[in-house]
């Protein structure tokens, strides 16, 4: 499992972790049933707070990506491919919903929003 965190990124660290692990599970880099390091071990290796790693793992568990057995550790959950696709869609949907609601509050119209989306997509390429 590979996790790299950036202190200068605007994203909270727990999110960086859960996102990276999620990506590796989705791309099958992390196999089903594979064991993840314990939250404390991960905290020690990344030199961050155990609360952070716990939060990341809690989120992953909530979204069905991992299973935690108390006393034993955390394992990559069995991923149904359909469900997986759905999950990915859901993640992006949530983010878009946030953007839409912010846009509404700030009075930004749908056309402007579409333009922004295009721009951002192009930026990352």
């Amino acid at each position: 499992m590979k996790v790299i965190i950036s202190n200068s990124s605007p994203d909270p660290i727990y999110e960086q972790i859960s996102r990276q692990i999620k990506a590796q599970i989705i791309s099958s880099e992390l196999a089903e049933g594979e064991a993840l390091p314990s939250i404390r071990k991960l905290a020690q290796e990344l030199q961050i707070s155990v609360i952070t790693t716990k939060r990341a793992y809690d989120e992953l568990e909530r979204e069905g990506f991992i299973n935690t057995v108390s006393g034993k550790g955390s394992y990559v959950a069995v991923q149904n491919q359909e469900l997986l696709k759905e999950k990915k869609m859901k993640i992006v949907e949530e983010k878009l919903a946030e953007a839409v609601s912010e846009a509404r509050i700030l009075g930004i119209g749908i056309e402007q929003l579409k333009d922004m989306l295009l721009l951002l997509y192009k930026e990352d390429e």
């Binding site: 727990y14 314990s38 707070s49």
Partner: protein, 288 residues
């Protein structure tokens, strides 16, 4: 599971300094850093927990037990490292160890000897002949050798060379793999906490400013950098402290989201480091 430490309404009066209304708790299984400028009250709080000084008001419980009523029981579970370790100056280390070991049922001689070996401490030498760093190491070795559930360290890294400081912090980190252990340590060297702490309690001038998970602090406290307009009255309630230089102003806010909403592009808003919080809070008199 009860908290490792729970403090309510603690008060201690000294001539010229009062620790007042201190309340915070520390759950089991985590590291809490007690941070603040020199003289803010960190050592006082620790001394009050250890009952080295008497409190004027308030209550302190450790693992659910009152630290005065159950003093001996509470202390048997604590490994304590004082800011300036002092034992019988005249006595050789092995005698001090022999005297101390008797007090703890869970004394682990093998572990102690392993630590002594690792730290390179000469057991036959008299305590007064050791350098400050070695006195600290010895004190730490004693504190770690009786399976203490709670470690309380008062400024453990000040006066230590960077190599040992790093080793000590790593050792503390390694200890935390056992989720029954808790660590409270006070420091004014904030970089110690940036990595290892789970919770941070910030003390300023005898009062608790906040006691929060480190991540929450990172996510909510920020530095707004901009021009002198930041010092205007309209922004007063947003900031907790500010530093003005000839080329601009840095202001500390405890609500970074609010700051992001308030200001537009002519400021830079960054997450605040613990050190910046400490420094800028010190310059916050007119924001109090």
């Amino acid at each position: 599971m009860e908290n490792a430490i729970q403090i309510k309404g603690l008060r201690k009066e000294y001539k010229g300094f009062t620790l007042r209304d201190v309340s915070f708790s520390m759950p089991q299984g985590y590291i809490m850093g007690l941070v603040g400028p020199n003289g803010a009250g960190k050592t006082t709080i620790i001394k009050l927990i250890m009952n080295l000084v008497r409190r004027n008001a308030g209550e302190i419980t450790v693992f659910g037990k009152d630290n005065l009523k159950d003093e001996a029981e509470v202390k048997s579970r604590i490994g304590f490292v004082h800011e300036t370790p002092s034992f019988y100056d005249d006595a050789p280390l092995k005698d001090i160890k022999a005297a101390v070991a008797n007090f703890y049922k869970k004394w682990d001689e093998r572990l102690f000897l392993a630590l002594i070996d690792e730290f390179g401490l000469p057991l036959d030498k008299k305590f007064k002949k050791l350098s400050h760093g070695m006195k600290m190491k010895f004190s730490i070795a004693l504190a770690l050798s009786h399976d203490a559930d709670l470690l309380i360290l008062d400024e453990p890294t000040s006066g230590l060379d960077p190599v040992f400081r790093r080793e000590l912090l790593e050792r503390l980190s390694a200890l935390m793999q056992d989720e029954r252990k808790s660590i409270l340590f006070s420091t004014h060297i904030t970089s110690d906490l940036e990595r290892t702490a789970d919770y941070i309690t910030f003390i300023h001038d005898g009062e608790i400013v906040f006691s929060l998970p480190k991540d929450d602090i990172k996510e909510t406290w920020g530095i707004v950098k901009g021009s002198r307009t930041l010092l205007e009255d309209q922004y007063r309630k947003l900031f907790k402290g500010a530093r003005e230089t000839s080329v601009g102003v840095e202001a500390l806010t405890s609500d970074i989201q609010e700051a992001r909403r308030t200001f537009d592009s002519d400021v830079i808003i960054e997450r605040a480091s613990i050190e910046e919080i400490m420094v800028l809070m010190d310059k916050g008199e007119h924001y109090a």
